[in-house]
């Protein structure tokens, strides 16, 4: 009903909720919650490499992991309440998920930010480097997605 009047309503509502989550984390704790750092900080539990032993990872690994757990729980609530019975499924080929994932992980950590780190936290901090990073990854993302389509991929 809502969707027939506002076919884009779930996009806006979802975006506002994402902002509420990142904003509330800041109001409660003062922490800046981008999502890519957890992929480095969690390695500090398992790896003795000097890179992962840095204070910026070791001191924040606890809340970053709890925040990530919150993401899983929140999506679980959505699934139980509004989601499709069998769960959300993607038809993107596994090789694309695997290869794309490695590039996403490597690139986001080298850049120190992803769609949420640069895109939400960085822009909301009015940081020019994040604006440039967003423009760069939008450009390479659009080019790659179009190229995959052109070559007959999904």
């Amino acid at each position: 009903m809502f969707e027939t009047v506002f076919p884009w309503g779930h996009y806006l509502a979802g975006g506002l909720l994402i902002g509420a989550g990142v904003g509330l984390l800041f109001l409660f704790t003062g922490w800046v919650g981008g999502m890519s750092t957890v992929f480095s900080s969690t390695w500090s539990y398992l790896s003795r490499r000097p890179f992962f032993r840095q204070a910026r990872f070791v001191e924040t690994r606890g809340w970053r992991l709890v925040f990530a757990l919150g993401l899983v729980l929140g999506a679980g609530v959505w699934w139980a309440w509004l989601g499709p019975e069998g769960g959300v499924r993607t038809g993107v080929p596994l090789w694309q998920l695997a290869a794309g994932g490695v590039l996403v992980g490597y690139g986001a950590r080298l850049s120190n930010g992803c769609t949420s780190g640069h895109g939400i936290c960085g822009l909301a901090s009015l940081q020019l480097p994040s604006l440039l990073a967003v423009l760069v990854f939008m450009a390479t993302g659009i080019a790659t997605a179009q190229l995959v389509l052109l070559l007959g991929g999904r």
Binding site: Y11, L16, G19, G21, P50, V66, A75, T90
Partner: protein
Amino acid sequence: MSPTGTMRTPQILATLVSGALFGFGLALSTMISPEVVLSFLRFRDFGLALVLGGAVVVTLLAYQLAPRLMRRPWLGGHFAVRPSAIDRDTMAGAAVFGIGWGLCGVCPGPAIAGLGAGNLPLWVALAGIAAGAYLQGWLADRRGGIAGPMG
């Protein structure tokens, strides 16, 4: 948070609830479906712009107003400032990130949240992201560098 990174119970609960709002929003906005992200990058659906725009506006209010109106966060500590620099790593990393994103339609937030909505193939993307993050740390070590300017 203490220097050792231990959290008090109220902080754990607040972080969990904040994360749950984030995850619910990612699922509601269908960003946990790589197909929807890819259709944005192919100019077929502009929903992602609305998701990102909505999230930025709310976060902007919190980030800009809270440090001016409040002495400290509700649960104590201090308001962190996001580390930021215009350098080669930031830009090269963003370019590589975009290539991966355009190939799989998955970024770190949805890769994690998608697991909660039963999107099992996303485990493959999640493992890939973890491997890529490890590779980045390993190469940074070899390069001689905890030179990363950012925290």
